[in-house]
Every structure is written in C-alpha cells, then in structure tokens.
C-alpha cells in the first residue's frame, strides 16, 4: 500500500520535499501502512522469543533425526559433550557424520559451575538455565501471537491488495532478476521511482518469508503435537515423520536467522535511520531520479 506523491491528509504528513544542499533531492514516500508496521514489530519480538525458547526446548534432547522415530542411526545433527583423556569437557557438533569441536558454544558451554554439557549456550536460550517446562510456556505463548499476527496480516494484505500490488513478484519483475542480483552484489541501490517499490529480490524474500517460511514453521511445529497428528493424520507422513518435522522446524529457524541477518545488513547498507523511521512512521525518504544513480525503469 504505497502512495507515492499522494500523502494522506492529516498531521505529520509530509509533502514531497526537496532537501537541498549537499544531499541528492529527497522525496518522502508513504511506504508502510500501519498494519504492516504493527505486524513487523510484533513478528520481530515473536521470532526473538521463539528462537531462544526453541533452543531451550531443543536442549532437552539436543539431537535431530530423519523419520518418525529418533533412532540413533538416523541422526542428522547432534550436540554433545565428551570427556577428553585428561578429564576436560569437550563440546562436539556432529552434522551428517561430520564432527566439529565447538567447546564453549555448542555441546559444552559455561554456566555458574564452569563448563557443562548443554546443546546451545546460556545466552542463546530462554530461560538461560536448563528449564524445559518454562521454555515450552514461552514458546507456545509467542507461537499463538505469531499465528494470530500472521493470519491478521495475511487477511489485510490480500484484502487491501498489498499482496498483489507490492509483494507478489510479477512475470516482468522476474525478467529483471539478473539485473537486480547484479546490482545487489555491487551494492547499488535504486533511486527515483524504483526506490519507491520493492525490487524483485525483496518481493521474493518478503513473499517467501510471510507466505512460505512462516507457515512452514508453524506447520512443522504443529506436526510435533500428538493431538495435531490425530486431527490431520496425513500431514506428518508428508513431512517425512515426526522427527523429520522436528528437523525441518529447526532448519526453518536457521533460514529465519539467515533472512534476518541479510535483512539487517541491507537495512544498514541503505540507511538505518531512514529504514527504521519508515517502519515506525511509514515515511521513507527516497532519492529522486535526478539523484546519484540511475537504474532505469525496472519495475
């Protein structure tokens, strides 16, 4: 829902402005509608709490498998601690048969009594100490908040055409995919009309996270629930079994973490203040077409 050059009436509304002097000409664009901004910040909090409490839950059995059962010979990943011949504790990470020493972070890390066996370290879990019951309580509270926020946003995005107008990549967007990747790698960012819209990589990333990764995380999470398995018995087999669902749920977390790091990197690169302001107030200052770089009409 972007209203380029059509600021709504009301207090705080900025007319398209020219900021003179040393900077290129800037135009204020109303970029994020209120529902988007609210959903964004709720989801930020949810992902943080869900990741930390998820690692707490994972620590109760810090291994992942493929299939219905947790057979030791079908281990995909394991965090464990072993004693060296000299009696010291060593943290190990085993992924698909490969083994890495990860003492201090994974498998064995410090607590009040010194080095001890734990999957993820204290700083990566909620609560920080070993407390599965409380980890589950946090996880399910914020899972509910995430699901309700996600559903509300999906309804809003479809009803307001935000989804079809701004998020869903169109065939002609995909034609510009190569150019967009090249520009991203050269750290060149669009200006003018183009800066007022999401570029094709943003569209793919945001659509994928909101309508792909998010629902997949919820589904793989629910697939671990024995009652859910009784309600829709065909879902868990489609995911490869309950332990596979647990593994996929864990992988989805790391895709979320990867997305978040890339997202923060891009925000930092294209202006922290401008980006954060636009996600708080809705208003984004876009360099006009007469600015530093010209990227043609790609949208």
């Amino acid at each position: 829902m972007w209203e380029v050059d059509e600021p709504p009436v009301g207090p705080g509304v900025l007319e398209p402005v020219v900021v003179g002097g040393d900077s290129p000409r800037l135009r204020s664009v109303y970029r994020h509608a209120l529902p988007t901004r609210i959903a964004h910040w709720i989801v930020v909090l949810c992902l943080l709490i869900l990741t930390l409490s998820g690692f707490q839950i994972f620590n109760a059995h810090p291994a992942l498998y493929w299939g219905e059962r947790s057979d030791p010979d079908r281990t995909v990943l394991a965090l464990k601690a072993v004693h060296t011949p000299s009696g010291e504790l060593k943290g190990l990470t085993q992924i698909l048969g490969l083994e890495f020493e990860t003492t201090g972070v994974l498998g064995a890390s410090s607590d009040a009594e010194g080095l001890s066996e734990r999957g993820f370290p204290r700083w990566a879990t909620l609560p920080s100490g070993q407390w599965l019951a409380m980890g589950r309580r946090w996880h399910f509270l914020f899972a509910w908040i995430l699901v309700l926020t996600g559903l509300s946003f999906a309804v809003y995005a479809l009803a307001s055409h935000h989804f079809t107008n701004d998020l869903l990549p169109r065939p002609r967007d995909l034609g510009g995919l190569g150019d967009s990747i090249r520009d991203h790698l050269r750290l060149r960012h669009p200006s003018g009309e183009s800066a007022a819209h999401y570029n094709v990589l943003q569209k793919i990333a945001y659509t994928g996270v909101v309508f792909g990764l998010g629902p997949l995380s919820v589904l793989t999470g629910l697939a671990m629930s024995p009652r859910f398995d009784a309600i829709v018995p065909f879902v868990v087999p489609l995911l490869g079994g309950r332990q596979s669902a647990r593994t996929l749920h864990f992988l989805a977390t790391f895709v979320f973490i990867g997305f978040t790091l890339a997202h923060i990197f891009m925000v930092a690169l294209t202006g922290v203040v401008n980006n954060v302001r636009s996600m708080l107030t809705g208003w984004y200052r876009a360099p006009s077409a007469a600015g530093v770089s010209d990227d043609g009409d790609r949208n």
Partner: protein, 255 residues
C-alpha cells in the same frame, strides 16, 4: 573494604536464609509465579482450539510391526526405589492388586489376571517424549473405558487420577497423573500390561502403565498402583494434576 565484603557476605547469607525459609514455608515458590498466571490461559487456548478441531473419536496414528523401534528409551524412573515395589518384582506381581476407588459406585481391586479378562486393545503407536524424542512400540492392555464401566463412574466425577509406585524425590513425592473422562474413555486409552508381545518390562512401568496416545509421554504414568475418580485435583499434590504439572509442565499435553 573488609567491612564492605563482610556486609556483602552478610546480605548473601540473609538472602539465603530468607530463601530457605520461604522454600520451607510454601511448596516450590519460584520467582515466576506471575508468569505462570500469564501462561495458563495459553494452555487453555491450545486445549480448546485442538479439541474443537478434533473429529469425534479421532485416533492417534497406528503403525505396522516393521515400524517399531529396535530400542525403546526408558525415561524417568527405570526401577522404583521402594521395598514394596521391589518385593512385587521378586514375586512376579502375583499378589499385586490395582485399587480403583474415589467417586465410583463399586470400589474394587483387580489382579493382573482380572485386568487381562477385561476387553482389551492392541495398538502400535508412537510415543512422543516432551524432551523431543519418539519411539514406536506395540502395546496391549485393558481398555480404561471397560474398567470404568466395571466400577461405575459417579456423575460428579470429572477426572481419573493415577497414583504410581515410584518415589520421585527426597520428599517422597510419588509420580501421579490425571486425565479427563473424555480422554479416559477414548478408544486407544488403555492400561497396558504388555509391550511388544511380552509382559511389560520394569523399566517401562511393570506391571501396568497408562497409554494416552494423543498426548505426550509424561501423561502415560508407569507403575500404576491405584486409580481414583475425582471431581477436582486441587487437593492432590500441588493441585495441578500431576507430578510434572506441579513442576510447571502443561496438564494438557496434546502439544
């Protein structure tokens, strides 16, 4: 400097003393009581949502013989550290009896032989531990619905409580669990006396364990000695319906 350290030591000692007396005064007071008030409605919401979406009589998925785990982990108690129980093990549970009482028309005791004569069910199901692991085994046992019909459930009964033989801590708290009558009368809810075609082994709860296949493993009490029907479990243990529930785990373990 010395005084500062001494003061700090004194403060720490004082706090320890206050903490100790608090612990002695009330059961398991922890600093997150207010959080639990926030979390409890979440459990109710999950339970309500899942029960609304459950088709009547929906069954937990069942598996084939070939799907069974070659090794089934034994979690929690593996052999109750209690003389009376160990004596039962030595005598092969011949004089072991299950007591059924509380809000029932005809309180009764059942020998293993009598339990075996009740209508039974055999099922190969997946056991999901709250810790995250899963194992598949074949269970055979008396239908809890048949046992309840035998003793007659009084109209004011709402929950079935299972009292177990295993002492869990130094305070002599024993394992216990509870389920509601709907779950108790579910087709797959059985009191299992066989696992993988053999008498239930000690590490899996001999001679009798509960199977509640649409919930997590901690609901499936091992070493069941006594069953009571109650209208409320407020007065049992810390009042939250089970040993682990008293330690902040959800009473509704369908997720």
């Amino acid at each position: 400097m010395g005084i500062a350290i001494n003061r700090r030591r004194f403060a720490v000692r004082a706090l320890e003393l206050v903490g100790v007396s608090l612990l002695a005064g009330c059961e398991r007071v922890h600093p997150y009581r207010w959080l639990m008030r926030l979390f409890r409605p979440v459990e109710s919401a999950t339970r309500l949502a899942q029960s609304l979406l459950t088709p009547p009589g929906a069954l937990a998925r069942e598996f084939s013989e070939a799907d069974r785990s070659s090794v089934f982990p034994s979690n929690g108690t593996t052999s109750p550290d209690e003389p009376a129980y160990q004596a039962h093990v030595r005598r092969g549970f011949v004089d072991w009896r299950l007591e059924v009482g509380g809000l029932v028309e005809r309180p009764a005791v059942f020998s293993l032989e009598e339990l075996r004569r009740l209508p039974s069910r055999t099922q190969i199901t997946r056991h999901d531990c709250v810790e995250g692991w899963s194992a598949i085994a074949k269970w055979r046992g008396a239908r809890l619905s048949a046992l309840l019909a035998e003793v007659g459930v009084r109209p004011d009964a709402r929950y079935v409580v299972f009292y177990c033989a295993d002492p869990m801590d130094d305070e002599a708290n024993r394992y216990y669990e509870s389920i509601d009558l709907e779950e108790a009368r579910h087709e797959q809810t059985i009191l299992a006396y066989e696992m993988n075609d053999r008498a239930l082994p000690v590490q899996h709860g001999a001679p009798l364990r509960l199977r509640v296949e649409r919930q997590l493993g901690y609901k499936m009490a091992k070493y069941v000695m006594r069953i009571a029907l109650v209208s409320s479990f407020d007065a049992i243990g810390d009042g939250r319906g089970g040993y682990w529930e008293d330690r902040d785990y959800e009473w509704y373990a369908g997720i």
